[in-house]
Amino acid sequence: MTQDPWTNRLSEYLDGELPEWERHALESHLESCAECSLVVSDLRRVVRRARTLKNPPPVTDLWPGIAARIGAGIPKAQDVVDLDAQRRVRRRWAFSLPQLAAAGIALMTVSGGAVWFMSGAARQSVVSAPVPSSPPEGTPAVSVAMKPNASQSYAAAVADLERVLADGRGKLDTTTVRIIEQNLAAIDRAIAEAQRALDADSANLYLNTHLAETMRRKLDLLRQAAALVPVS
């Protein structure tokens, strides 16, 4: 439950995103803090391990159904971009939650470390690509196919965390559960309102950002709530 104040900064440290003075301060802290050093060490192992994992193909090919609905037909081979190839080039710790969780569990790292890492990946996928309400007309097949990827990542992250919460529901105080559910419902209402607004004005930068930010809030709250579940 208690946490070293530096713990929340380790992600930025490993990402190389800390300003120089903070990096020096953290490295100095690492020399004297065995816990943080252990976490950093474990997380580096998670990263190494996660990099070796393969992105499994979807169990079901969703494209035929999507194509039928939007009348896009079956894309020609030359229209299709190899997303795996793109990912291999662009990928920067862009792992799915199950991959990270699996890596975390497999390596038996500290629980906070895995949660930390999952949050970083989730934040990247959600914030960088807000979910469109509908594909714009004339959008090439590849564009339509890529955007649901972020949506699916988000849905998977939410589903994973909701499952953790559901499994641990009995271990939490009933008032806490009620409060969390009320606040999740409040965020869901905000997401729905932002989505409706975006449906009417899909090019509005503020609405896009606001929706993405509100979705991230839901993920944050789920993650926070999941962290409350005692490990038995």
């Binding site: 070293d4 104040p5 929340n8 065995a34 806490t176 409060i179 607004a197 606001h210």
Partner: protein
């Protein structure tokens, strides 16, 4: 004691008295984990930590000291530990890491990093330096007189930061965010259901982002402020106590304007509330309103 610190840990478990004092050496931090109850820490001018405990069975309290930390924790033999009241005196230089579930935390006078996490409790801190992280799920979070990188977070209650400086991140879902008398170069405050108010200097080169979904947003703008301001709302309103030089209107209810040379960057967003710019000391200034409210409360 010195021998124990050099050779490993000194375990005092379980303690046999409710009043214990341990020597503290620089480099140690104070770890407190109390499942339920009230924990108060106040700074004193001795290099020692005094723990006065009451309420719970003393067998449930464990105190230990190592080279890196003085640890105080409660544990239950069969089920959760009982409520406990801990009154702790500690040197101002000691970093504090505190956790609990049904625990109220109050810390005063510490000039070092502070981290507090509780679920069903309030957090009230005066002081703190470097890294300050305060979190509660069901309780309010209040911080005054802090300096450094500040992260305050609640879920279902208000968050307040006053008379503090540094970088500030404040979040809640169902509550207000009140930032008063803060001197920050970076502020990021957001809530879903609640108002946000900010008063303090807008520093040159600073970044200030305030965002709410259901709530009003009030920014107190001192004379001479130099900032580029971006205002965004979907179905809310914008009001200002002084003329603002609008420069273009964005699609939707959004627009930008510049005060002075625009060296700071201010982003104000409320999906369906009122965004308001006020002058310090005006009737709408949240700082003034709070002073009046507190005065009325004191008179009652």
């Amino acid at each position: 004691m010195l021998f124990a610190l050099l050779t490993g840990t000194l375990a005092l478990s379980p303690i046999v008295q409710a009043d214990t004092t341990l020597n503290a050496v620089r480099g140690q931090r104070l770890d407190v984990n109390a499942y339920a109850g009230e924990v108060t820490v106040h700074a004193w001018n001795r290099n020692a930590v005094r723990i006065v405990a009451s309420g719970a069975d003393q067998d449930q309290l464990e105190i230990s000291s190592s080279a890196t930390a003085i640890s105080i924790r409660t544990h239950g033999r069969h089920g959760p530990p009982d409520e406990i009241t801990l009154q702790i005196s500690a040197p101002a230089w000691i970093a504090i890491s505190m956790g609990g579930v049904n625990t109220n935390a109050k810390i005063e006078g510490i000039r070092a990093p502070i981290s507090v996490e509780t679920v069903e409790g309030e957090v009230d801190v005066t002081g703190g330096e470097s890294l300050i992280s305060l979190r509660s799920v069901q309780g309010s979070v209040r911080l005054r007189g802090a300096k450094g990188r500040i992260n305050v977070n609640s879920v279902n209650e208000d968050v307040e930061v006053a008379n503090s400086s540094g970088d500030i991140a404040a979040q809640t879902v169902n509550g207000e965010i009140l930032l008063q008398g803060v001197n920050a170069s970076s502020v990021d405050a957001n809530t879903v259901n609640g108002d946000i108010s900010y008063s303090g200097p807008i520093r040159s080169g600073g970044r200030y982002a305030l965002s709410t979904h259901n709530g009003d947003l009030t920014l107190t703008v001192p004379e001479g402020t130099s900032a580029g301001v971006t205002v965004s709302t979907f179905s809310g309103d914008f009001e200002s106590e002084f003329p603002v030089p609008l420069r273009g209107t964005r699609k939707g209810k959004g627009f930008n304007f510049t005060l002075g040379s625009g060296s700071a960057q201010v982003t104000l967003e409320s999906f369906q509330g009122t965004i308001q710019l006020v002058r310090p000391g005006s009737e709408e200034d949240p700082a003034r309103r709070k002073r009046e409210h507190d005065r009325d409360h004191d008179e009652d």
